[in-house]
Symmetry: C2
Subunit: 133 residues, 2 copies
């Protein structure tokens, strides 16, 4: 078992079972924005007998305990983002890949003053093509 992940789980009030650690080892480290079934597939490579329900339960538990954030911006699916700090998202229309965009890379104004709305959080969602830079 990975000690670092065990510590993170315990620090957030989660019993570190073998299955939860296996899910955490993958999903808390990845730079991707995997869907639940992608997490299931990745974890099964090292833990072949883990069940679908356990992976879904564990992901929902991690979201509840704020180890992951749920994003709803890819094609009709929920994906998970271990990057908890505020940031924006860029979706590559060619591959469907979701990239993080640093919070300070774009600036947004006047969100706080919208009439009739208490904005608790916001982000810019961009779509386009990746290119060489």
């Amino acid at each position: 078992m990975n000690e670092a992940v065990v510590t993170i789980l315990q620090g957030n009030g989660i019993q570190p079972s073998a299955q939860r650690v296996a899910v955490g080892e993958y999903v808390l480290r990845t730079e991707d924005h995997p869907s639940a079934d992608q997490v299931w597939a990745a974890v099964r490579e090292r833990f072949p007998m883990i069940s679908r329900a356990t992976v879904y339960n564990t992901l929902n538990l991690f979201v509840e305990k704020k180890l992951l954030r749920e994003l709803i911006l890819a094609e009709g699916r929920i994906v998970f983002d271990p990057n908890l700090g505020p940031h924006h998202h860029f979706i590559d229309e060619e591959s469907g890949a979701i990239l993080d965009v640093p919070w300070d890379a774009v600036s947004v104004d006047r969100v706080e003053t919208l009439p009739g709305m208490d904005v608790r959080e916001y982000q810019v969602v961009m779509r386009g093509r990746r290119r060489a830079h």
Copy 2:
């Protein structure tokens, strides 16, 4: 048959069948952001024998012909937005309602200069609570 809708469909190269006009009468006028099944339910009230597949086919046709825009920001579902001009979106966390926010109500800077990304379109997605104003 609603003449205005018939004209819109014909002007966009769509044969105005009775079913397509019925879908158009609802979805091209609404201020809501209905899901496909909500459109199906609404249209069936006046056209009870219309099939699910026809509604889905028609919505996809409208999107392809640019009469509707597809949004992927509600809870795991695709919704349709007849407001084609650029605008932002506010999601009321209490009710799940999606509200349009005028393009000029917020300002966004430096999107064009992101290294490695050709941004073709973008929008600000806000979440929070509605309040009296």
